[in-house]
């Protein structure tokens, strides 16, 4: 079993070690002697929060002094009040729940199918011949362009919506997992042969852990794509969900409800990305030990 052609011995993973802090060549005073001359310089505390905070300040001031037309962009306090109203009458929760169910169903189905296809294509030449081509073609066709066809096949119900999300998610999961499987270092395959590993042990000890970093990278893309697809399917022929809520608000000109929807999307996107990164840190602890 050879996973990498001879001569192409790439390392399993480009281990992304975080750069160690520059050595401190302290003088008597115990302070860094020099500052790195090239490069952006030391990190600013709360650097990542400064940009967004500034935008909120401009928004608030602009609204307070009447510089921003509330029909274009309602004031922050109006949005917060609308949040309260929507929660109080239960609309936000029920739409959020509907959307979450769609997202989770689509995402989990896509992850399972994408991973399974990647493992089959990665471990057998026949599997690769059968699977890789169709996936590459699928990848070339934007998932959202399939919506008309899927409406004809599956109707406009939940099945169609979940299928769209699933189809979108499969691609990044497959591509990155398959790529990681293919670049597993041939030296580890040799090792597995010399210790006479069974195929099952080989899968469990070498293949799957070796492909895990690739899978997790695919997962981050998949999560983003999942939300994108959700927004689109919920604005077409939907009668519930966050996208529907936003679309309805557009027809009535309720900008503040649109903003509430956007804020919820942003929170969901950030939270799910953070979650995947957390999983990454847990599962890939073996390559972080030196950095921490």
């Amino acid at each position: 079993m050879t996973y990498v052609s001879a001569g192409e011995r790439r390392p399993v993973l480009a281990v992304e070690r975080e750069t160690a802090p520059a050595g401190r060549f302290s003088t008597g005073a115990g302070r860094p002697r020099t500052r790195r001359r090239l490069g952006p310089g030391p990190a600013i505390p709360f650097g990542l929060q400064i940009g967004p905070a500034l935008l909120v300040v401009i928004w608030t001031l602009g609204s307070a002094f009447g510089l921003i037309d509330p029909r274009i962009l309602p004031a922050p306090w109006t949005v917060i009040a609308t949040f309260g109203t929507l929660i109080a009458d239960g609309r936000l929760q029920s739409n959020f729940l509907t959307s979450s169910v769609r997202a989770i169903l689509g995402l989990s189905t896509g992850i399972v199918i994408g991973t399974a296809l990647a493992v089959i294509a990665g471990l057998s030449r026949v599997g690769e011949a059968l699977i890789d081509g169709p996936i590459q073609i699928k990848r070339a066709v934007p998932t959202l362009a399939l919506i008309p066809l899927l409406i004809l096949w599956l109707g406009i119900g939940e099945t169609m919506k979940v299928t769209i999300i699933t189809l979108a998610v499969i691609v990044p999961i497959y591509i990155h997992t398959h790529n990681a499987l293919r670049s597993i270092d041939n030296r580890y395959v040799e090792l597995a042969e010399t210790v006479r590993m069974s195929s099952r042990d080989f899968l469990r000890e070498v293949v799957l852990p070796g492909a895990l970093p690739g899978f997790l990278l695919g997962l981050r893309f998949a999560v983003t794509l999942c939300w994108v697809s959700l927004v689109v399917v919920e604005q077409i022929n939907a009668t519930s969900g966050l996208g529907y809520m936003i679309e309805l608000a557009r027809t009535y000109g309720q900008t503040e409800i649109i903003l509430v929807g956007l804020v919820v999307y942003a929170i969901l996107g950030l939270a799910s990305d953070g979650l995947v990164r957390l999983i990454e840190r847990k599962l890939l602890s073996w390559r972080r030990t030196l950095a921490s």
């Binding site: 399993v12 597995a192 590993m197 390559r287 030990t289």
Partner: protein
């Protein structure tokens, strides 16, 4: 080469030929290694010594060739790189492919033997190069091999660590008594460890030398120097005349 009369052989190779395209790497070589015998294989780079070891380890699937090889079922390989799975901790690397509590226990014992007791839960990335290679030694020992194949196992280590590893390997071999084939380009390493030294040149063995120096072998011993000069000459290295002792 010369069979070992009256001894059981761990390895029997007959007429082994290996080719890469039109280049013949091994040209019909024969070799017997007795049980428990420590053989070092020297050769210039490109002489075919790694090809020979890989043939014995059955790692040369894609290479054309003929000949018969008989090796014991219990065979371990130590590579030049420690080749530890980075995503498995030390004890898991040692017990790779073994199962059950017995495997765990054997793994702990092997780690203790190479001086790494207590490091069971460390990640490979946390170990120094020498420590990683010790884990690799433990991984090969835990299988209780009748034949240990080592392909320049200390080639990537610094000189001081290498000397310590020599002592460790000598000690481990004395205790477990596997037959050993050590491929190396380091003549001193070969002389201080091996019972017998082979020199491979252009696909054939051109030297088969029994080393009968008493252990521990002293580099300053004139007989050591004599063997070294002889081997270096066979390897095509000009050795300036020795100063009178």
């Amino acid at each position: 080469m010369a069979p070992n009369p009256g001894k059981l052989n761990a390895v029997e190779v007959r007429g082994l030929t290996r080719r890469f395209g039109s280049t013949t790497i091994l040209d019909g070589v024969d070799l017997d290694i007795a049980q428990g015998e420590f053989v070092a294989l020297l050769g210039k780079s490109g002489s075919g010594k790694s090809t020979f070891l890989r043939a014995l380890a059955e790692l040369d699937h894609d290479v054309q060739g003929t000949g018969t090889i008989a090796t014991p079922e219990k065979l371990s390989v130590v590579f030049q790189d420690a080749r530890l799975l980075p995503w498995r901790n030390v004890i898991q690397n040692v017990t790779l492919g073994l199962s059950g509590a017995a495997g765990q226990e054997a793994g702990r014992r092997a780690l203790a033997e190479v001086g790494l007791a207590g490091r069971e839960d460390a990640w490979p990335i946390q170990l120094s190069g020498g420590e990683q290679q010790r884990v690799a030694l433990a991984r090969s020992l835990v299988r209780d091999p009748a034949l240990l194949l080592a392909d320049e196992p200390f080639g990537a280590l610094d000189a001081l660590t290498r000397l310590k590893m020599h002592d460790l390997l000598r000690e481990l071999c004395a205790r477990h008594k596997p037959a050993v084939l050590l491929v190396t380009h380091d003549v001193d390493e070969a002389i201080s460890l091996a019972d017998r030294i082979l020199v491979l040149d252009r696909g054939r063995f051109i030297e088969d030398l029994k080393i009968e120096l008493p252990a521990p072998r002293d580099h300053a011993d004139p007989r050591f120097a004599q063997v070294r000069t002889h081997l270096l000459n066979r390897l095509g290295v000009e050795v300036p005349g020795r100063r009178a002792a």
